[in-house]
Symmetry: C2
Subunit: 433 residues, 2 copies
């Protein structure tokens, strides 16, 4: 747990600063990071929430490699389009390869080789894999890194109408995914850029330090995502309607006149936002040049209709911090916290305090609660500061003074509230948390 006391000078934004200070990441080259144990735990929790919500929406997990053949990208016509952001590689036989920045071509190739009948549609395949974009000026830590972890899903349908249904499923899955991480996300109509297509939404979370300016109807911030009883096989149009009928746009797409016309003055919200997800319906943009077709009911060949759906998994670690921190450090939502509880021993070496801590530690572990135990011989002040910095939702503070009264302290990191309690009462509170 390597904590830095001072702000690292290279960090321009708060999440980058806090991720370095709390020992979550270390830079290994420009825009390329190692994830230290604490940061890796957060990354894994985010990945698991993404996975669960993809699975719930009916997408199927697989895994494509990081290194791809350039020939595939020549087939779609994107090899030359993609520019210098693509990391191009020559192998020992001088074959042109690349580090995948995205996977439309590769999944389309797999699909066209394996799936031949309309009966095998719809299908949505996803993977969670490292990508590389050779940013000219990587910065802001993992927010705009070069090697980054992305979840990308690809839907395959027989008709544009079916494809729209697949799109809606991912839309709803994304609302749920971000809400489970304690984020308020707002879908905004978006440009499609190098992915292509004509229907696209970015999922933006609001944070003062966001990279882009966004404009939306204030009511959107009050909406809550569908619950876990949502039926992804049902008609999701009403949910889509609720989330897309009110004005919301990034500055790229912003239309000031429309904003003023459609939204009452007191409901006009302009804020800064961070993109954490982006979904696309692009129809036959890849399946047409790559000849990805299936046989229909009458034996006719049908070009498959597709969409793709990305979530920036490593970027989310930073985005959550941007949205949830204070002057003392990170404030993790419980669902993605590296540990739920930090246990602070105020007098390591004192027999009674050590025994009380070890009993608590054992009981928490037994109850399946993830706990980080600070039994170093730092001063109390340093321990408090470190625990606030790393931002676990709860702190259990155990010292000889309290123990004389038979009590320990339970601190809520977000509110800062501290309460003295019998150890068993504190345990009960955490087991219910």
């Amino acid at each position: 747990m390597p904590i830095l006391r001072d702000d690292p000078k290279e960090a321009e934004i708060v999440s980058h600063r806090l991720m370095l200070r709390a020992g979550l990441i270390r830079q290994s080259s420009a825009g390329i990071y190692s994830w230290l144990p604490m940061g890796f735990r957060v990354l894994q929790k985010i990945e698991q929430i993404v996975r669960e919500e993809q699975d719930r929406a009916g997408a199927i997990e697989m895994l494509m490699p990081t290194i791809q053949s350039a020939d595939l990208w020549r087939e779609s016509g994107r090899y030359d389009d993609y520019g210098e952001e693509m990391l191009r590689i020559s192998d020992r036989h001088e074959r042109d390869m690349l580090y995948g920045p995205t996977n439309e071509e590769l999944i389309t190739e797999i699909f066209r080789n394996e799936v031949h009948s309309y009966r095998d549609l719809p299908r949505n395949l996803y993977h969670i894999q490292w990508k590389f974009r050779d940013e000219i000026r990587p910065r802001f830590g993992v927010m705009r890194g070069r090697e980054f972890l992305m979840k990308d899903a690809y839907s395959f349908d027989l008709t544009a109408e079916d494809a729209k249904r697949s799109y809606n499923k991912m839309f709803v899955a994304y609302l749920r995914t971000f809400e489970r991480m304690g984020l308020k996300s707002i879908p905004m109509a978006a440009d499609t850029g190098p992915i292509g297509g004509d229907l696209s939404h970015e999922f933006i979370i609001l944070a003062e330090t966001g990279e882009s300016e966004v404009f939306c109807h204030a009511d959107l911030v009050e909406l809550t995502a569908p619950g876990d009883d949502v039926d992804f096989e049902s008609d999701l149009t009403a949910i889509m309607e609720q989330w897309t009928s009110k004005y919301a746009a990034t500055d790229e797409k912003h239309d000031a006149a429309r904003f003023e016309k459609e939204v009452a003055a007191e409901k006009r919200l302009s804020a800064r936002g961070i993109e954490v997800g982006h979904i696309f319906f692009f129809g036959t943009k890849y399946t047409e040049p790559m000849k990805c077709q299936v046989q229909g009911k009458e034996g006719e060949l049908i070009t498959v209709q597709c969409g793709s759906y990305g979530i920036g998994v490593s970027r989310l670690v930073a985005a959550i911090i941007e949205a949830s921190h204070d002057d003392a450090g990170i404030i993790w939502p419980a669902s993605v916290a590296p540990y739920l509880v930090g246990l602070i021993n105020l007098k390591t070496g004192d027999a009674e305090t050590d025994a009380a801590c070890e009993e608590l530690y054992g009981k928490l572990k037994q109850a399946g609660i993830e706990v980080l135990y600070d039994d170093t011989d730092e001063r109390a002040g340093a321990k408090f500061a470190a625990m606030d910095l790393i931002g676990l939702p709860w702190q259990l503070i155990v010292g000889p003074k309290g123990l004389k009264q038979g009590e320990i302290e339970l601190k809520d990191r977000r509110s800062g509230d501290r309460e003295s309690l019998k150890p068993d009462a504190a345990l009960q509170r955490l087991i219910g948390a």
Copy 2:
């Protein structure tokens, strides 16, 4: 679930053939594979067993990136040594990068920047990450691929004696890891190659189709790995003794005269084997040139003693198949099977059969049992063949004839035994399996 009926002609060994036929993987470029959903499930299960046993032995998980800076490798002197197997990359600013084939340099750099005191030792850090070795002639599927998933752990100790203790922990963890996957692994003294050092063991599993010839005392095959009550903080010397005192060598290290002298004729086993793990103690080979030191008790600077410990996670998928298959296909050990049970509906569309299958499917899922339901309209023979090919440990076979007697069939894939049972009795059997 894309099954191939015929043997793919490019596959020279049985695991490659079966992985392609059963739809576990597809090649995307030479030596680079995509993992289809079924193969990905196996890969994840293997990864999880590796992770659990690393954690049990006290190693801490983190994650290093795939792309590394060439400068680090110049510091250790390995940049020029490594030859053409290293995939060298130039980024847009013409900086020399590489796709990591292993991580001794990077972890040493992280360690020297973060850890400064003897009090922070010992430490063992591991990650499970994709690696790349640009093999001149990639073949045998994921057995000798170019992009492959490896678990690599790195231990840091104050003295060579402590480092030997760390080495022993990993040794025992490896015995347990492979045994949990249904493999019989035999540690053999090994050459250290480009990693370096003077103490090293390869973990070899026996399989007729193994890549190398191995020679060992037959008693080693009868040993069982330590149970999950093994205390990794205790003295593991007796276990080491048990596993290393009898003759065992790959052909590289084989000494025919010693073999004949040390092993009675009837105990001399010569067989073919597959390397699935390799551990190294190399002392200060990297920490010396890279100046990785900590302060000792008296403030003196001590160069850290290190080892590294690799498991070929993606290669294990193939190795398990080499060790466990028959003419009909794969036979997965339950611990790594993509699903525990395959449910075969012999008459899809028949109301009674469909209802019985769906009830079973629901009950199995509810009991937390992973089940794959074949409700396609293939012929029964094709369904049996496909289910045998993909090799799930159990098959539940449901058809109208059996249902008239109130019975279904339960088939054990390994033994081939089939038994007629009431549905509830079959369920009970599987819940206990």
